[in-house]
């Protein structure tokens, strides 16, 4: 690329390592502009953390990416192709799985049943086509295989009811379900928010393994230590826009928080500028 950064140009149609990419997303609710020209890019094989203060518009942007919200303006590319999602189901069919904060599990059903909820598989032959019999055995075996592959060892029995699992184990079930069915990427909304220290690290390990299996992960989180522990890059959202993308190794946690709250600003060359000092200088000059 010879185009200098910071100069607005038409986005390249395909960036080799971008799995999911968005430019200039806008979503207004009446007089409120929830996202105001937001950009986004997720690269192959990475965990991208999305952080931002409450009301920064990060969840609206994520909803636009997973089909729950239709943006008013802007373009989204999945693997270089322009896409228009009209519902979360569209995004799912395209290979994007989302783990919601509410987990979307049925507590009175067992683990295997939850993993295949809404995607049940029928038996082969007449039993499946005419009598629509479910292939319980096949689903259980495949669910067990997938959980083993992801290293969800804390779950001993695939037939265990989800309501008898701990919070971390339930989260692991929801995360494993997303990983099982996503072909392009997964989006995880605050997966460690309700968990204790040990269970959090179990879920973070799981996310890391999913990435190592080649599936990129978008992680929305308020928990800075977790973000710094696991993210390859951090997308900082503020006032409806992406204000910075940083690598956790390059900056300290308090600097990233300052970017999020607007106390600091990131210049194109990667320098941090104190907004207040800058304003003072400007008014002084």
């Amino acid at each position: 690329m010879t185009i200098p950064e910071g100069v607005p140009v038409a986005p390249p149609v395909a960036v080799a390592d971008a799995v999911l990419r968005a430019e200039g997303l806008v979503k207004r609710y009446g007089h409120v502009t929830a996202i105001d020209g937001a950009d986004f890019d997720l690269r192959r094989g990475e965990v991208l953390a999305v952080i931002g203060d409450n009301g920064a518009g990060k969840s609206t942007m994520i909803k636009a990416l997973c089909g729950a919200v239709i943006p008013d303006e802007g373009t989204i590319w999945l693997d270089g192709e322009v896409i228009h999602f009209h519902s979360p189901l569209d995004a799912r069919r395209a290979g994007i799985e989302t783990v919601y904060q509410t987990l979307a599990v049925a507590p009175a059903m067992d683990i295997a049943g939850n993993l295949y909820l809404g995607r049940e598989q029928r038996k082969k032959g007449l039993l499946g086509t005419v009598f629509r019999t479910l292939d319980h055995k096949g689903m259980r075996a495949e669910a067990q295989r997938q959980l083993d592959a992801l290293g969800v060892a804390t779950v001993q029995n695939i037939g265990q009811l989800v309501e008898t699992l701990s919070g971390g184990q339930r989260q692991a079930v929801a995360v494993a379900r997303a990983a099982m069915f996503a072909s392009k990427l997964t989006i995880m909304d605050e997966p460690t928010a309700a968990l204790g220290v040990r269970e959090s690290s179990m879920v973070l390990d799981l996310i890391r393994r999913i990435r190592d299996h080649g599936l990129p992960v978008v992680l929305i989180s308020h928990n800075m230590p977790h973000v710094f522990e696991i993210a390859d890059r951090i997308h900082v959202h503020r006032l409806g826009k992406r204000v910075a993308v940083v690598k956790p190794d390059d900056y300290a946690m308090n600097e990233v928080v300052a970017l999020m709250t607007g106390a600091l600003r990131l210049t194109e060359s990667g320098e941090l500028v104190d907004q207040k000092a800058e304003l003072n200088n400007r008014s002084g000059a």
């Binding site: 979360p88 189901l89 799912r92 919601y100 509410t102 987990l103 979307a104 599990v105 049925a106 507590p107 009175a108 059903m109 049943g113 909820l117 809404g118 995607r119 049940e120 029928r122 009598f131 629509r132 019999t133 479910l134 319980h136 009811l161 309501e163 008898t164």
Partner: protein, 326 residues
């Protein structure tokens, strides 16, 4: 690791209750049969037992439809009224051919069930309110339709379910008993062996979670009310089979009796837990209790007291099992 093992052992019993909701009721049924057999010499006779089963057929069939609705965290207060309307239409049309009359009655029940379903899904009204309104509307419509009369039914097909035959030359059965068993089996299959059944449980568990996993919540919910309506149509057939007379004032407590059978059968009123096998057992428990207490010379009002207490015990046990599993 040891902590985990210890924890698992503690929840074992309640997990068993959660996993097999028909287990508790089955034990209760067995216990009741044993106790009443010891208390009365006539209770365990073949004749008495087939009477007990026959007496549970109509409420049992109503309870089958009720189970479906309750599994979706709803409730159907109108089921018996819908069934009674069905019996009246069948009786009035009986002169023009049994099959037409039967079909018309079942279609009527299905249509009324569909109206409840449409109100619950499209207007998002609580099922309790919708079916309370439907109960009043349908019961009044029945009375208007019947104009204060009741209608005796004598048509081969309509009375078929009351026909008796002997199994092994010993056990007296009615065709209605067989039909009930077949219907329970079919619904059990649909609930436990098909994706539709999974979706019914999932949406009763948590409708929002079901929606997020891609289940068509409204479509499934609507199909439940439609299917329940068809089942009430068959209940109307059962009712005529038992008493060949259509009376607009019959089965006034049928709705509550069906809820009783469902709840005693271990299905949770909060939705998503339970099943039709439990309901079958629940309907039998009520019938056994009434028969046994009658034979012990206990007044009918005290039988009501016993049934009511049983409902409370069943719900309390369900709650207890769920709380312990947390």
């Amino acid at each position: 690791m040891t902590a985990v093992v210890g924890q698992r052992r503690r929840v074992d019993v309640s997990e068993l209750v959660l996993r097999y909701p028909a287990l508790g009721p089955s034990c209760a049924l067995l216990l009741a049969v044993v106790v009443f057999s010891l208390a009365s010499s006539t209770f365990l006779s073949v004749d008495n037992l087939s009477l007990v089963v026959e007496q549970s057929l109509v409420v049992g069939t109503l309870a089958l439809g009720q189970t479906l609705v309750i599994l979706t965290a709803g409730i159907d207060l109108a089921n018996a009224a819908i069934m009674v309307f069905g019996t009246l239409l069948m009786a009035k049309l009986a002169g023009g051919g049994g099959f037409t009359a039967l079909l018309a009655g079942i279609v009527l029940c299905a249509v009324v069930g569909t109206i409840s379903g449409a109100l619950v899904t499209s207007l998002r009204l609580p099922p309790f309110i919708v079916t309370l309104g439907m109960l009043t509307v349908v019961a009044a419509s029945s009375r208007i339709f019947a104009a204060g009369q009741s209608f005796p039914v004598s048509s081969g097909l309509l009375n078929l379910l009351g026909r008796r035959f002997y199994l092994f030359g010993q056990i007296e059965l009615t065709v209605g008993i067989l039909l009930t068993l077949v219907m329970f089996l079919l619904v059990w299959y649909a609930l436990t062996r098909t994706a539709w059944g999974r979706h019914v449980y999932a949406l009763g568990n948590d409708p929002e979670a079901a929606r997020l996993t891609g289940i068509h919540v409204n479509r499934t919910l609507f199909s439940v009310y439609l299917l329940a309506g068809i089942i009430y149509g068959f209940a109307a057939w059962q009712a005529i089979g038992r008493i060949p007379n259509a009376d607009p004032n019959a089965y006034q407590t049928g709705n509550l009796d069906s809820i009783t059978a469902v709840v005693i059968g271990g299905t949770s009123l909060f939705g998503g837990r339970g099943g039709v096998l439990g309901t079958l057992v629940g309907a039998l428990i009520v019938s056994v209790l009434r028969s046994g207490l009658t034979q012990a010379g206990i007044d009918e009002l005290y039988q009501d007291v016993a049934t009511g207490l049983l409902v409370i015990v069943a719900v309390a046990l369900d709650q207890l099992a769920r709380r312990r599993s947390r």
